[in-house]
């Protein structure tokens, strides 16, 4: 007993103060939300498009610049290295979630301010949000970083957010993975078992768009193919801070 207390004392109090206080420090090499400078882009060069593993980069309408779909992006920085003029830069901005799929596309002269708010979420679940997590082909990285939110350092229970064992106890689903053909039925059944009103959060490039598996016959290119999605959180995998930030914005807690 004394030893347990002594260890407790030694391990200290570690729960972060975010969002009341500063956000936890991100690594210096962190690849967050990218920015595109389209002033000098020669769209004919296409170097960024050639190296992109998931075709996340496309020519913008006016053909004078490119757009980057962060929903498909694996944040591998290949485009950043390939651009001869250094017009693509990955910032350390962790805030990247969007309630709409289009909101994840950046560049092309359109200003997308991320506003994750969702009417039923902010109305019904603001103080208590119970989520059933479904891994529908996720590689276990997104799942691991969702689990992290339950550890004492992040403690998302502070906001009344919790993962629960049964869909019948849940207010919504948090989906990872591209939705494999073999998981489709299980996902549909789990969604149907969640009582209304309910919300769906898609976490990671796979759940948003199919990620590295986009176009494979063995999967369905993301959660929207099966269920309506209220919040998209891009990344491969998203940092726990990006996940928490997205959910808190959805609930209008920040």
């Amino acid at each position: 007993m004394l030893r347990t207390l002594k260890t407790r004392f030694q391990q200290k109090y570690r729960t972060m103060t975010y969002p009341g206080g500063p956000a936890p420090e991100l690594p210096a090499r962190f690849a967050g939300r990218p920015v595109l400078r389209d002033d000098a882009c020669n769209a004919d060069c296409g170097a960024c498009m050639t190296v992109c593993p998931t075709n996340a980069i496309a020519l913008a309408r006016e053909r004078s610049s490119v757009t980057l779909d962060t929903g498909r992006c694996l944040f591998c920085r290949a485009c950043e290295k390939a651009c001869p003029q250094g017009l693509i830069r990955f910032t350390r901005d962790y805030s990247s979630a969007s309630p709409t799929r289009e909101g994840l596309v950046i560049g092309g002269g359109v200003d997308h301010t991320i506003q994750a708010r969702n009417e039923p979420a902010a109305k019904f679940f603001v103080r208590s949000l119970k989520l059933r997590q479904v891994s529908a082909g996720g590689c276990n990285a997104c799942e691991a970083d969702c689990n992290v939110l339950g550890t004492p350092a992040w403690d998302m229970g502070r906001f009344g957010i919790q993962f629960v064992a049964s869909p019948r106890h849940a207010d919504g689903l948090l989906i990872t993975g591209p939705v494999t053909v073999n998981m489709r039925l299980a996902l549909e059944k789990t969604y149907a078992a969640v009582p209304d009103p309910k919300i769906v959060i898609a976490v990671g490039a796979c759940a948003v768009s199919g990620g590295p598996f986009i176009g494979h016959a063995e999967q369905h290119n993301g959660a929207v193919s099966v269920v309506p999605v209220d919040l998209f959180i891009p990344g491969c995998p998203p940092h726990p801070l990006s996940i928490l930030d997205g959910i808190l914005k959805l609930l209008e807690r920040i």
Partner: protein, 496 residues
């Protein structure tokens, strides 16, 4: 015979009639070799199939290769060589051909057949297969999954119970199948390395390292020493993070919350060290064929050393608190026992094998990269139970901490990567890596243009899932979470 990370011309692999192939594999495994992989090489039109046995001989660090032509029906190896069990099920499912006399032939991934000239049967819907059943008073079945209670990958488990006692557990996977091996054909391309990094997300470093070694072997290059050191630092950080997380989760499964909470956080601290290295907590974007993408400067080395110090202090306190608590030990000891004989016969690898007393560790048996020059102890235990698996993990965490500390102090100077020449044509490379779960085997075969004609990935989980099923026999069903976590196997690494 070739060494780890060596190539051989496809034509040079000895081809024998199937019966001799069968006898040779059975004899080699009985002699002490491991069946590391058994890929099928299709001809260009998928008309003819050739089976390749990849046999690892630990005592002389050599890998034996043998091929034979495969027909629609072949005499199964499994009755005489239990380690071939899932390999034969895999081949039967993928190519629609039958190992005759296989004692337990069922699909393992429910993947669409790759087909060959004779045509393949339709794939069964996932999870629809023959399960064992048990009849009698008080006997019942408990079916769990694919969606489990926790935040975890999907799989279906069926327990045959009499009262609380599990007589048998059947594990039906395949829910995570994403078609990676099929997509590898024709590569490498821009996506190939990302398939490897997401093959099993918690083993990003392990799989991308195995892939890089295979490509480097086929290109005939060796990476610079500085890159080799950075690679093993990342690999040992991955091992530490996962083992610490598992020790915490095992504490949670027996209701010992202090260690569960501390280890959950400390695992995050280790992931953040990997993120300091390359920006990503799982090590994505760090290793690429021919080198590494990120360097270490003296400031980062100091930072990592200081963090390592802090992690060591915290993890020693957190884990020894658990291991010194008699009520925890009472739940760990004699739970989920796998005998050394069973472990050897079914071909367990990694932590699960070492906890039974088998000194199986690729870093020692088939050294690669920096492990050729710098050695880690092979930590084994004799009990084969949940305690054994916890103990091996704990010993390895401590060994990894010391190992990383030394590597940070002795970083050789030089470049981070080399130019990557074109890959050899019509060649085969075998790459073995000790991931944190155990032996990872990648087998890459190229066509006449030097592109992948076939690519086989064997995750350690592929060898070990059956071990978990056997560990559950005669256990209380309530011990399943603990047993499961003590193995902590990958679903997506198995399903591919």
């Amino acid at each position: 015979m070739i060494g780890n990370n060596e190539t051989i011309s496809l034509e040079a692999i000895p081809a024998v009639p199937f019966e001799r192939f069968r006898q040779a594999v059975i004899a080699a495994v009985a002699y002490g070799a491991r069946l590391s992989a058994m890929p099928v090489r299709p001809s260009a039109d998928n008309g003819e199939l050739t089976i390749i046995a990849v046999l690892s001989f630990p005592e002389n660090s050599e890998i034996g290769l043998l091929t034979g032509a495969l027909f629609d029906r072949w005499p199964s190896l499994t009755p005489d060589c239990a380690a071939a069990h899932w390999f034969e099920r895999e081949i039967a499912e993928q190519w629609g051909i039958t190992p005759e006399g296989h004692p337990w032939l069922k699909p393992i991934r429910f993947e669409p057949p790759r087909g060959h000239a004779a045509g393949c049967p339709e794939t069964a819907p996932v999870g629809v297969t023959d399960f064992f059943s048990m009849e009698g008073e008080e006997s019942h079945e408990v079916a769990v999954g694919p969606v489990h209670a926790g935040v975890i990958e999907p799989g279906h488990f069926r327990f045959l119970c009499h009262g609380e006692t599990v007589y048998h557990l059947e594990i039906s996977l395949g829910y995570q199948h994403r078609g990676i091996e099929r997509a590898m054909i024709g590569g490498p391309g821009p996506r190939t390395v990302h398939y490897m990094e997401t093959l099993a997300g918690d083993t990003t470093i392990g799989h991308v390292m195995a892939y890089s070694h295979a490509v480097e072997a086929l290109a005939g290059i060796q990476v610079p020493p500085r890159a080799e050191v950075i690679r093993v630092i990342a690999a040992e950080l991955e091992r530490m993070a996962n083992h610490i997380g598992d020790l915490g989760a095992m504490a949670g499964d027996v209701g010992f919350l202090p260690t569960m909470n501390y280890c959950g956080r400390i695992r995050g601290d280790v992931l953040n060290m990997t993120a300091a290295l390359c920006g990503n907590r799982f090590g994505r974007g760090l290793i690429r064929p021919a080198g590494v993408e990120w360097d270490l400067d003296s400031e980062l080395i100091d930072d990592l050393s200081a963090r390592l110090e802090a992690v060591q202090k915290d993890v020693i306190a957190a884990v020894t608190l658990m291991l010194d608590t008699p009520s925890v030990m009472a739940r760990f000891e004699s739970t989920g026992v796998v005998s050394v004989d069973t472990a050897r016969r079914i071909g367990l690898v990694g932590v699960a094998a070492r906890a039974c007393g088998l000194a199986r560790d690729v870093r020692f048996e088939f050294p690669y990269g920096l492990y050729r020059l710098a050695h880690l102890p092979v930590n084994t235990w004799h009990s084969g139970d949940c305690f054994g698996r916890a103990q091996v993990r704990w010993l390895e965490v401590q060994a990894s901490i010391d190992f990383i500390r030394q590597r940070l102090q002795e970083l050789p100077k030089g470049p981070l990567s080399r130019d990557l020449p074109a890959l050899k044509s019509d060649a085969l490379a075998v790459s073995l890596v000790e991931g944190w779960r155990g032996e990872i085997c990648h087998v890459a075969g190229t066509d006449k243009e030097g592109r992948f004609a076939f690519y086989k990935v064997v995750d350690p989980s592929f060898h070990n899932w059956f071990g978990l099923a056997l560990a559950l026999r005669r256990q209380q069903i309530s011990d399943f979470p603990l047993c499961n976590k003590s193995f902590n196997l990958s679903y997506c690494g198995h399903d591919l």
